[in-house]
Symmetry: C2
Subunit: 327 residues, 2 copies
């Protein structure tokens, strides 16, 4: 079964290709009678415009690229879902690529997106990305890039982030309301700017009378190990702060293993998308940083970029404290 094209329709109807093209997009130059004929035949012949030809001709791919370390993540999947929603609604499609925390893969992925002449790129860089040259090249080609979550330290680029410092500060503030003495704070990879910001926000707000032990876990298992280790001390910390869902899940397993009662024996607070805190009983109190809302924000920023706005901005998503029963 060969594809039906404008040409084929034009031949059957005995009109020109341009007439068919215009008729199908309701161009005023074409008579109603001709339009009707064309539209009908197009329907019975199951005409589907060839996107590649259109993109080539119009130099507009209606395609966005999305670059992410990994899709299966506590946070990104909801971000992706939000972006995809808006894309479809606005007539765009979405190409998704994983970099797997490998800057080399990231670079080739960017090349793929360039070759597909995407209209814009959403990017969450890997922690080890140092060379911003590939991204710069996108910019040179006039392809807007909106960074999200893990963003580079560059000045003039578009970034949408959760309010990292404010979120951590909010969590610290919640702890300040309680009568805790010793808090164990587990953060992520200390090389990432997101970690630095959260450390700053947390330690600046936590009242100085509280003893705070800051540790770093690169993944869930390490968070489990750290927590287990600190639960073996005497006295044990009476509160636990987790920077992310990944860390929370590790820490929570350690607490379950120790058989501690929450919040009587240990209080917990985390920064989260909201899903994991509700897996446990009591529900964990958390500062909400919505991947879904961040996606919406990123998309709207992308749209303003495409409408010609050239000045870059760093947008932050406000966050709120969601009370669980862990404090």
């Amino acid at each position: 079964m060969t594809n039906t094209t404008l040409k084929k329709i034009s031949e059957v109807l005995g009109v020109s290709i341009s007439t068919v093209s215009r008729a199908l997009k309701n161009h005023p130059d074409i008579s109603e009678k001709t339009k009707a004929k064309v539209v009908e035949l197009a329907q019975t012949l199951d005409y589907e415009p060839n996107a590649n030809a259109i993109h080539l001709r119009t130099n507009n791919s209606n395609l966005f690229g999305l670059l992410v370390p990994t899709i299966s993540n506590f946070f990104y999947d909801s971000f992706i879902a939000a972006i995809e929603e808006d894309c479809r609604q606005q007539g765009y499609s979405l190409i998704i690529l994983q970099s797997g925390d490998d800057p080399l893969v990231e670079a080739t992925n960017l090349k793929i997106l360039r070759q597909n002449r995407v209209s814009g790129v959403f990017a969450c860089i890997t922690p080890s990305t140092k060379n911003m040259q590939p991204f710069q090249k996108m910019y040179d080609m006039g392809i807007p890039v909106v960074f999200f979550d893990k963003v580079p330290d560059l000045a003039n680029c578009n970034r949408v982030c959760v309010a990292d410092a404010a979120a951590a500060s909010l969590a610290a503030n919640a702890l300040n309301q309680t009568a805790i003495k010793r808090v164990l704070a587990i953060f992520g990879n200390p090389a990432m700017s997101i970690t630095k910001k959260r450390i700053l926000g947390f330690s600046h707000t936590l009242q100085s009378s509280t003893l705070c032990h800051i540790t770093y876990a690169h993944h869930s298992e390490e968070a489990l190990a750290i927590t287990t280790q600190h639960l073996a001390t005497d006295p044990i910390p009476d509160a636990l702060f987790c920077m992310s869902d990944e860390i929370l899940t590790g820490a929570m397993k350690a607490i379950q293993m120790a058989g501690l009662l929450i919040p009587q024996q240990i209080k917990i607070i985390t920064i989260s998308n909201g899903f994991f805190p509700n897996l446990y009983h009591p529900s964990i109190t958390y500062v909400e940083t919505s991947g879904y809302r961040l996606g919406k924000l990123a998309f709207s920023k992308m749209m303003t970029c495409l409408s010609g706005d050239t000045n870059t901005a760093e947008l932050t998503l406000p966050c709120t404290l969601v009370q669980g029963g862990s404090i």
Copy 2:
């Protein structure tokens, strides 16, 4: 900054477009000297071939479509990750679309994929999809479709699934090894074929002396409610079977609320991708149905389709019991 094309390179070098094209793909007709010149200039000019033009000319998009109810899911994200990996490795890109459990959106998504002349489609249909016409149209256009997880009941289509009946049977068998009397089994939407298969596999294998109560939960919260309700009976069930991660998380919260000891007071087994069972302590014993492995299987089936194999098949992924501490 205007894009560099073959034409531009050819003009600078004073050769023809075809020579440039051939030089860049190392065609034997072109002399080494010319090749060197072309390749060098292409590099300094940052030449990036226009994928749209190539696809139009070669009628081959090197693009796959992926249709899924929702990205943020316990299972699909790892499936997607696997597909994306293989795609990148094989030089394909991936367009991902969510249908949001709406058959209408699903149909328009398929149209988008057709218009993009994708080389193939991976599809997980929504539970309410009745009309297979849009999928049939793909087939008519020569675009192979590989269904996964939620597959239609059609005979001649390509399907890759986890071994649903076998997985449930494996779980029942594990329960048979223990001295339980009353088991509460929670399944998902009873209208889905995946549910029916698992029910059959489970109840056929469970030894008849065991009292089995079968219930249905459409989402996590309902699983929580059902479990809570059954934990209020006397005597309480001494074992719990969950059909999926979504149900497990709901049930587990109920068990935490009741403060029951696992496995002393209640035993638990589930069918899972493997992530959630390890969130708890003790780890939940589960029958593994890997989204990642299913993705790999689906991709390899897709490749055989593209290489001309026209006969359809239903492939099932074998599953294994992973021992936790909940039995």
